[in-house]
């Protein structure tokens, strides 16, 4: 449930960031898989084609996206876009099978950390020529966002937005507790929790055992100076000191009475909306939902509990499937669609997202709730482009974090077992994907 909300919300924001400098007659290298497709010219003047466009924007950004699609259809007589919106959890199970069967998307949107997986499965094609056409270069992005879209030296996604974990707080509670500024480090965070408790808010920071608990864990690991999968993304380091400290800190919120025990799926977020808890860490895709709830909330970057500021982030990217690559007309039309969406991304920058491009980011988020998060884009951390990593995390990391937060077993033991399992799975993935 949460996943579909965040995906939807996220997608809307990034698109706005891309501004096309020019759209006519650019020449770029064709993708390797789709070499037969030729070069992208920026125009499509072939016969009328219908494109299947899949995305997971099931939340408040869904209508935004549909409006854009409608506008595109109106402006293009020979391209008809047919949208198919599926919640993300199902999206990633269906796309590979559907594309294999030729019944899937021609063009679509997926998360940055899924690009490598789908590239390795030969579901999506390289888009280096399109990136060049759109004048997308490394200078305009932070290094992590730019690099994470590349798998085996080829770019597979055209970035649409950036989204991250953030800290939400109840402004009314903060006022009553006499907290004037949102906490930024461990000392001020603990001080705020104590003040909230003193003001009568018994459990000011509910620690979730499931989603997004593992995102909190990953953020804390990065803060403690240890990338969760090492520098090169080959080995799970959950059981490093940084990881154990991260999970112990999460559990300590429960042990010290700042959180209720046994917080079940989504309960911390519902409790936050009901003003039963004062602080929660969740994705910025919840902004629209919180705005609609009428809660007097504030948003700030996740405080620096560890040594350096860092927090988990992800990004939505446009992709073109191998299915579309089989038909040159569809391929060209898909590229026109992505280029057009990038051009018109400013139209929906207001939906709460953070543009990926530096050149438009500041203007696009000015005065928006997410502005404070956008300011810290350098602290965003992305999972490495390792095929199959999403499944590895669901299988190994998430249960361990859940057990740690629930107080079942020693965090160090849990993480050791999880790391060993993750490494087994990653080893097998490497064999399967032939890395």
């Amino acid at each position: 449930m949460r996943r579909m909300t965040w995906t939807a919300a996220l997608a809307a924001g990034v698109t706005g960031a891309l501004v096309l400098s020019g759209c006519g007659g650019g020449q770029g290298p064709g993708g390797t898989t789709a070499e037969s497709s030729g070069t992208f010219t920026g125009e499509y003047d072939g016969p009328k084609v219908e494109l299947s466009y899949w995305n997971g924007f099931t939340g408040g950004d869904g209508p935004f996206m549909q409006d854009l699609v409608d506008q595109f259809n109106k402006e293009h007589d020979n391209i008809a876009i047919k949208s198919n919106t599926i919640q993300w959890a199902d999206f990633y199970q269906r796309v590979p099978a559907a594309v294999q069967a030729g019944q899937g998307p021609d063009v679509g949107v997926m998360h940055l950390d899924q690009l490598a997986t789908h590239a390795a499965r030969n579901i999506i094609i390289p888009l280096d020529d399109l990136a060049k056409q759109l004048d997308l270069t490394a200078d305009d992005f932070t290094q992590d966002i730019w690099d994470a879209g590349i798998y085996h030296d080829k770019r597979y996604g055209i970035p649409l937005d950036v989204h991250s974990l953030a800290m939400y707080y109840n402004k009314d509670h903060f006022e009553k507790a006499g907290i004037t500024e949102p906490p930024t480090d461990e000392a001020s965070f603990m001080d705020a929790l104590d003040k909230l408790k003193a003001a009568g808010y018994d459990s000011p920071f509910w620690m979730p055992s499931l989603w997004p608990s593992h995102l909190m864990f990953l953020s804390l690991m990065w803060q403690n100076g240890q990338p969760p999968y090492g520098e090169d993304g080959t080995e799970a380091a959950y059981d490093s000191d940084a990881g154990v400290q991260a999970l112990e800190w999460q559990r300590s919120m429960v042990d010290q009475g700042y959180s209720k025990p046994n917080v079940a799926i989504d309960a911390q977020y519902v409790a936050f909306k009901n003003a039963q808890t004062s602080i929660t860490w969740d994705g910025i895709w919840q902004i629209n939902d919180l705005e609609a709830s009428g809660l007097n909330y504030g948003i700030a970057p996740v405080p620096t509990i560890g040594d350096e500021q860092a927090f988990w982030a992800n990004s939505h990217h446009f992709f073109i499937s191998t299915q579309a690559a089989k038909d040159d007309n569809k391929l060209q039309a898909s590229k026109v669609f992505i280029a057009w969406m990038s051009e018109h991304s400013a139209d929906w920058a207001g939906s709460g997202m953070i543009p990926a491009r530096e050149s438009v980011r500041a203007d696009a988020v000015k005065g928006m709730p997410q502005e404070v998060i956008a300011d810290e884009i350098e602290s965003m951390r992305f999972l490495p482009p390792v095929p199959g990593l999403g499944g590895v995390q669901a299988e190994a990391l998430e249960p361990a974090v859940a057990n740690g937060v629930l107080g079942k077993g020693d965090p160090a033991d849990q993480l050791k077992a999880a790391a060993s399992k993750a490494n087994q799975l990653m080893e097998r993935n490497r064999e399967s994907f032939g890395d």
């Binding site: 999403g390 590895v392 299988e395 087994q424 799975l425 399967s432």
Partner: protein
């Protein structure tokens, strides 16, 4: 009856109708007609049951990811992994099998007994009977997604209504129904019983209505108590239904997936992750379809053994019952008829 048949074979047809045993010559001469009659089902059976069974076996012998061109043959590795401690699938698979076992052991008896009690009650005549029948059956028409999301919020340990009302009653209000065991098992079994008892109750009810009233009247005349009537008339009359219900309930429980997938998400950790849940995660999320297929076959083997056991149990009980209860049952209506005659 055979008079309208003018074809040369009419004689044999009428012979059969008169009770003559079919001759071998007839069987040979019917040709493909029976196959044509069977064809619609046979096509579906081959395409959706037999084919997948064979194909699944093939998959289980490979490291199989349908999105990758390379699907190397690995022999029995996927199976031996399942029985090798420390392998990639061993601990998660057997933990999941244990979860399925726990769920089955606790849910099946309840799903056999509670619907029977309800069916017995619903079989009586009382005002509002149809309403109650509908009420008990109603949850069954809901999809698992609906009931799971409903109960996920009701059962939430911190914000759920269940704990809230327990608290109002002065009972412990901090039970973690969805994040700790054994509370999660109580929750999952309870929700499943609430959700599916209507189906079993309807089957029982149909079975109860098939038991001739005369048997009860006869038993009553013989001075049988309520319990004796239940024991010697109702239960034997329900035997065929009971064996059907037992079998389907066991299989349904062993295939439990949606409830733990949606209510507990396998929490705490992966403790309430059932075998089917694990198979889905392995095969559909991690694309280890070879491993997942092997797991399916091991689970199937368990279910086959369990089904044989159930068959054996019911057969074993039916025989003596026919001797004990069968005599009065068959004698009773005759006595009754004689009495009336």
């Amino acid at each position: 009856m055979a008079t309208t048949v003018t074809a040369p074979r009419s004689e044999t047809v009428s012979d059969d109708r008169r009770g003559g045993a079919p001759r071998r010559r007839d069987i040979n001469s019917v040709g493909i007609a029976p196959w044509l009659f069977l064809a619609p089902y046979l096509v579906l059976f081959v395409a959706f049951v037999l084919g997948p069974i064979v194909y699944g076996l093939y998959i289980s012998l490979h490291r199989y990811d349908f999105t990758l061109p390379n699907k190397p043959f690995v022999g029995l590795e996927n199976y031996t992994d399942l029985f090798t401690p420390g392998s990639i699938t061993f601990s998660s698979f057997w933990r999941a099998m244990r979860a399925t076992g726990i769920f089955t052991v606790f849910s099946v008896p309840l799903l056999l007994v509670v619907p029977l009690v309800i069916a017995l009650t619903m079989n009586k005549k009382f005002p509002g009977r149809n309403l109650f029948r509908a009420v008990f059956f109603a949850p069954y028409v809901l999809g698992v997604a609906v009931i799971a999301i409903l109960w996920r919020y009701l059962l939430d340990s911190n914000i759920g209504l269940v704990n809230y009302y327990l608290g109002l009653l002065g009972l412990p209000d901090d039970t973690a129904w969805t994040t700790s065991t054994p509370a999660a098992w109580f929750a999952l079994v309870g929700v499943t019983v609430w959700w599916t008892l209507g189906f079993n109750a309807v089957i029982y009810l149909a079975g109860l209505q098939d038991i001739p009233r005369e048997l009860y009247e006869a038993a009553e005349m013989d001075g049988a108590s309520r319990w004796q009537q239940f024991r010697h008339v109702t239960l034997p009359g329900l035997m065929p239904v009971l064996s059907f219900v037992t079998m389907t309930t066991i299989i349904a429980s062993a295939n439990m997936f949606g409830q733990s997938y949606l209510i507990t998400k396998g929490a705490p950790g992966t403790e309430t992750r059932t075998a089917i849940y694990q198979i889905a995660e392995t095969g559909l999320r991690n694309y280890q379809m070879g491993s997942a297929a092997a797991m399916s076959y091991v689970l199937t083997l368990f279910l086959i053994l369990l089904s044989l056991l159930v068959f054996w149990l019911f057969r074993d009980r039916q025989t003596p019952k026919k001797q004990k209860a069968g005599v009065p049952l068959q004698a009773a209506p005759m006595m009754l008829r004689q009495g009336r005659g």
